[in-house]
């Protein structure tokens, strides 16, 4: 009975008796979730447009952040470095399309997936070769990102919010809104959706697949840059981020591989769920559970809805 009490009742009692802790945990989960969602967004962009499951998205985040910091440390002013990094991400998108995607056109999914593995390895080696492997500090002040905390006295306790996290949430929302407008209102956005629906049909109405792929990889690169800045500001810029980026995968599952709102909602669910679980239930089984909670949640979820929350219905025919 004691163990049942601890699992099913005690956490909720804690939630009600200490609402400030609950709100704090929820907020931290939200912020973590936004960052997961941003990485997942990069995955979804590329998967929608080219059907490539881009494993390299995580390392692109690291690479973008490293380039930014590396350029700044080389003595270039912060905003010029930002511009140059955008240019580097474009060059990367162009090179990926030319060297990796174009020769592998019409190959099966797993081959393309594998090619992005190759890209990941290459970027890890290249990034370390050029910028060194040691962690670096993100240039938050130079980019005018706010610092410090806001504290509220509410709910019978103190809730402290990092200003940076608030900024991250705002920037992420703005970016998602921007992408949504871009996808639905612009000419290129419509072309992107056409390519996502069917490569052949898009080709037949005169859409250039090569061009679209460069644009999509560039967009994913920009998302990676924003994610890299935000994540780098919370902790150092290092290659350890690559492993954390794997957390974006269960987010994708929850949201569905092809849905942009799904990536956001999935990110928030995973972020919040993970923090709540770790805070209230984790200590019962020894802690450190946030390494697998997201994946197990996704696994259980998949059993009931294999296409994710917002994914396209899977129809199978022989």
């Amino acid at each position: 009975m004691d163990i049942l009490y601890k699992i099913f009742l005690d956490p909720f009692v804690q939630m009600v008796t200490a609402p400030d802790l609950l709100v704090q945990t929820l907020w931290e989960g939200m912020v973590g979730g936004v960052l997961y969602a941003l990485i997942a967004l990069g995955f979804v962009l590329i998967f929608k447009a080219s059907g490539v499951f881009n494993f390299a998205q995580g390392i692109m985040v690291v690479f973008a952040a490293l380039t930014l910091v590396g350029l700044y440390n080389a003595g270039i002013s912060a905003f010029l470095a930002l511009g140059l990094t955008v240019a580097v991400m474009f060059a990367l998108a162009f090179a990926v399309e030319r060297v990796v995607l174009r020769p592998l056109i019409n190959q099966s999914d797993i081959i393309l997936f594998m090619a992005t593995f190759g890209l990941t390895y290459f970027l890890i080696g290249f990034g370390q070769f050029v910028f060194g492997g040691d962690p670096k500090v993100m240039i938050t002040e130079q980019l005018y990102l706010p610092k410090g905390t806001v504290t509220y006295k509410a709910l019978g306790g103190i809730i402290s919010l990092q200003k940076l996290d608030i900024a991250a949430a705002i920037i992420a929302s703005a970016m998602v809104a921007g992408l949504a407008v871009f996808f639905s209102k612009t000419r290129i956005g419509r072309a992107l959706r056409a390519v996502a629906d069917s490569h052949e049909a898009a080709l037949s109405v005169g859409i250039s697949l090569e061009q679209i792929w460069v644009i999509v990889w560039f967009a994913a690169g920009l998302v990676a840059l924003v994610t890299g800045i935000m994540w780098g500001a919370r902790s150092d810029v290092s290659f350890a981020l690559d492993v954390i980026a794997l957390k974006a995968l269960p987010v994708l599952i929850l949201g569905g591989l092809t849905s942009i709102p799904g990536a956001i909602v999935g990110g928030l669910i995973i972020g919040v769920g993970e923090k709540l679980w770790e805070f209230y239930w984790g200590p019962l089984i020894g802690g450190g559970t946030d390494s697998w909670f997201a994946f197990v949640l996704a696994l259980v979820f998949l059993l009931f809805r294999p296409q994710g929350l917002f994914g396209e219905r899977i129809i199978e025919r022989v």
């Binding site: 499951f53 060297v99 990796v100 020769p103 592998l104 190959q107 099966s108 999914d109 797993i110 081959i111 997936f113 594998m114 090619a115 593995f117 190759g118 890209l119 990941t120 390895y121 290459f122 970027l123 890890i124 080696g125 290249f126 370390q128 070769f129 492997g133 492993v243 794997l246 995968l249 269960p250 994708l252 599952i253 591989l257 089984i285 020894g286 802690g287 450190g288 559970t289 390494s291 697998w292 994946f295 197990v296 996704a298 696994l299 998949l302 059993l303 294999p306 994710g308 199978e316 025919r317 022989v318």
Partner: protein
Amino acid sequence: MLYREAGQFKTSYATDQAIFPILQDRIGIIIILVIAFVGIPLIGNDFLTNAVMTPFLIFSLAAIGLNLLTGYTGLLSLGTGAFMGVGAYACYKLTTIFPNVNIIIWVIASGFFSAAVGVAFGLPSLRIKGFYLAIATLAAQFFLEWCFIRIPWLYNYNVSAAIEVPQRELFGIIVTGPRASAETRYLIVLTIVVIMTWMASNIVHGRIGRMWMAVRDMDIAAELMGIRLLPTKLLAFAVSSFYCGVAGALLVFLWYGGAESTVFSINESFTVLFMIIIGGLGSLLGSFLGAALIYILPIILRFVPPQLGLPLHAATVEHLTFMITGALIVFFLIAEPAGLGRLWQIGKQKLRVWPFPY
């Protein structure tokens, strides 16, 4: 010229269905086995046996395991590292609880524990496919890795949270632990790998293998033909995890001599996946070729610059290794997406009809 099948007539179904139907192939495989069993131990170079051949064979075994699942049954898995870990930890627990039982028996038995865990995590595969399944197997990877750290019973409450291989003897010869000689360990690994490869070859050429391949090519069509999906897929998970588990036990007991949970991290899963994709999905030979390329290539890369007299920093070499490995993966995928195993077949075909192009 030497590689001709002219004059070799197949007069029975058995010879027609032989795995090596051509005499030259049979001679070739015998030569390779003789070199592996006699030649390499005779050279007696500890570096060759211990640092190159033993791990290469162990990774080949793991690659065969994953290939049975991903290449033959079409179920993408990223949990290989964890399944190898289950084998290693199971073997460790078994041999510490029953120290007098032959260690080889425990190495093989640990495969069954891994198979059981594999079946449990393979259950969702009936509903989930493709990349979704790959991510689902990540749940196995991270959950099991967490277990290896957080359940102290698994490593006998060691302070270091690591497993250390105790010394075990087989017919009076020390086979595990720090005092075992490199040749002994190499020969044991080689024997197990050869036997298990032979078994895998028989499985994939038989009824079970055909069922797996039917499921891979289109599972709904396979179901309509009367193949029961759940038992078939679960069997694939079980056999695959069995191979991975034995590979994991061998890895720790006959190569590392001790391990922490980090050995069986997600990177291990990725490495084995690289091997089978570079080597060729659905090809046993490809598993060996892929393991050779992915495992031995970095070793060569590490030794080439000093030989050429290039004064490169160790860290720089490490970074370059990453870059070159990545570039080579992309290069091989573009050159032959079906893998090295397929390249080998094309080469053989060319040789057979030489000097004519067709």
